[in-house]
Amino acid sequence: MTSAAPLALQGAGLSYGPRTVWSGVDLEVGRGEFLTVLGPNGSGKTSLLQTILGLQPLTAGRLSILGRPAHRGSRDVGYVPQQRRIDPVTPIRARDLVRLGIDGDRWGVGRGGRALRATVDALLDSVGAAAYADVPVGLLSGGEQQRVRIAQALGTRPAVLLCDEPLLSLDLRHQHEVTALIDRTRTTTGAAVVFVTHEINPVLPYTDRVLYLAPAGHAVGTPDEVLTSDKLTALYGTPVEVVRTRGDRVLIVGGDEHSHHVEEAS
């Protein structure tokens, strides 16, 4: 049995008028693979997510999810956003947020029902959030919210799990917990993980491959292949140095004040 890859890009490119954001991206992300998308601000990381979500059409090439073109509202793509403050009196509990991930895009009031409730309970349980299923989301800590977010994104059994800076504004311990959970998820569900971040270190141990988007091009490969001084110097078009610390952290130091992009050990 051969099945199409969760995510495949062939000669994919995106331009806004004369400005090319990225072009010629060839990439296939397999089941359970962890792809980390890196790059400075404005390099098109968010645009890439938008194209995978079907909210933004490519201007060149093809993008397919399980062999079919990406389309708006696809249930094969799950989306984990960055943590955002939610007002504590917003009447939405953890379980409601997860349920919206399953049927929030459907019309009508929805009848709920035992099966749906059981699914929601199972999802919350799978991310270790069962204890606060009935707590309003606004009262949860950042790390707890992100667990609930992951459960929400898994609600449609997606083939691709898009993570859009999910660690932003989390403290170090929660960063570790959330990345470990995402890593566990890809093995239990087989979903391909596309993890957009500006900080490689928390996800470095889990990353299979890196897609580095930069001003002068892009590169795909294992972290060891891509995160080298030569490669990044070529990508940025300006001297960049990659330093590996003994704790196996990566520091990327740009030579140019403006384009530089430092991965500090946090």
């Binding site: 979500l53 079907g54 909210l55 708006r72 509202g73 696809s74 793509v77 989306y79 956003p81 955002r84 403050r85 939610i86 007002d87 504590p88 009196v89 917003t90 009447p91 939405i92 509990r93 409601d96 947020l97 919206l100 991930g101 049927d103 929030g104 895009d105 459907r106 019309w107 009508g108 009031v109 929805g110 709920g112 204890a131 606060y132 009935d134 707590v135 309003p136 606004g138 009262l139 949860l140 800590s141 950042g142 790390g143 707890e144 977010r149 929400q152 994104a153 898009l162 403290d171 311990r173 917990e177």
Partner: protein
């Protein structure tokens, strides 16, 4: 024609408490305001449901802005001899569309409303000043009155209410998603912008209905207070709308019943009832959040206390 002119129950020469509460001839009065009570109950239903989304979308200020333009529309209709209700609906919808189109971001929205609101109120005052008719009619638009709702007017109110309620039920889930979780809703393909515009129109209609009963200044008491009270005591997406509707209906119908015998406008009664409900809910909700929303095992992840813990430990 107001009830007070049909059955004279109290006059300005009576002591103030008798002008506020008087239950002489109450049975006869009840029969007269049968339609008004029905209108109040339906308004409670609409206000309670719409209010849930107004809270979720943080649009209390927009409600106030729309109601002032609704007032201007009604005042213009009064001056030009047109149907007052139609005028208030027109004003509401116009304001809702302008706010919906120009103010997609919260900050823009607030400034646009801040600009529109005094303009609407000023226009309304101008039209009323030019209107040669009875002062009671003028005042009623701002502070509410129990008009003898005739059958034509009632069926009109009921039709608009039906449109609002049915539309809300149809878009309920995606609107909830787009309101509480806009980023993920957009990622999941929910048409957040279209829903936001549709909601603005429904809100405009609901405000126009409320202006008919409680007046432009006090629309918030039926569109915000009940939902705000409900969110204090529950976070369930089922319980909150039900409580909100219950609170709004009790306020509207209770207000009409109390106002019947008095000689003052209806709105003080409605606003007081809804305010008391809100205060009670806050007290109940405070106890609940101090005890912790649900019982959580203290073990599990140590130090998992929220960074933005809602209640300080007392």
């Amino acid at each position: 024609m107001s009830v007070q002119t049909l059955v004279h129950v109290a006059t300005a020469s009576d002591p103030w408490w008798e002008r506020m509460f008087s239950f002489d001839n109450y049975g006869a009065l009840l029969a007269l305001v049968h339609n008004s009570l029905l209108a109040g109950a339906v308004l409670g239903l609409v206000g309670g449901l719409v209010g849930v989304f107004v809270m979720q979308r943080d649009m209390a200020f927009a409600v106030h802005g729309i109601s002032e333009l609704s007032f201007a529309g009604a005042a213009a209709a009064l001056l030009f001899g047109l149907d007052v209700a139609a005028g208030s609906v027109a004003g509401s919808l116009l304001a809702a569309i302008v706010i919906g189109l120009l103010g997609s971001r919260a900050r823009d929205r607030s400034s646009i409303i801040g600009v529109l609101m005094p303009f609407g109120l000023g226009l309304g005052v101008l039209f009323l000043a030019l209107y040669p008719g009875r002062a009671a009619n003028k005042f009623g638009l701002l502070t509410g009155q129990i008009v003898a709702v005739d059958d034509t007017r009632l069926s009109w109110l009921l039709s608009i209410s039906a449109v609002v309620v049915v539309s809300l039920l149809v878009i309920w889930r995606p609107l909830t998603f787009a309101s509480v979780d806009p980023d993920v809703a957009a990622a999941r393909g929910v048409p957040t912008r279209a829903l936001s515009l549709v909601f603005m129109l429904l809100l405009g209609l609901a405000v126009a209905l409320a202006v008919q009963v409680v007046g432009a200044l006090l629309v918030l008491s039926l569109l915000i207070t009940p939902a705000a009270a409900a969110t204090r005591v529950s976070a369930s997406p089922l319980v909150v709308p039900l409580l909100s509707v219950l609170f709004a209906v009790v306020s509207a119908v209770g207000g009409i019943l109390l106002a019947l015998g008095g000689n003052v406008p209806i709105s003080p009664y409605v606003t007081t009832i809804s305010f008391v409900i809100y205060v009670v809910c806050r007290v109940v909700g405070r106890r609940r959040s101090r005890r912790g929303w649900v019982h959580r095992p203290a073990s599990g992840t140590p130090g998992a206390r929220t960074e933005e813990a809602a209640e300080p430990v007392v």
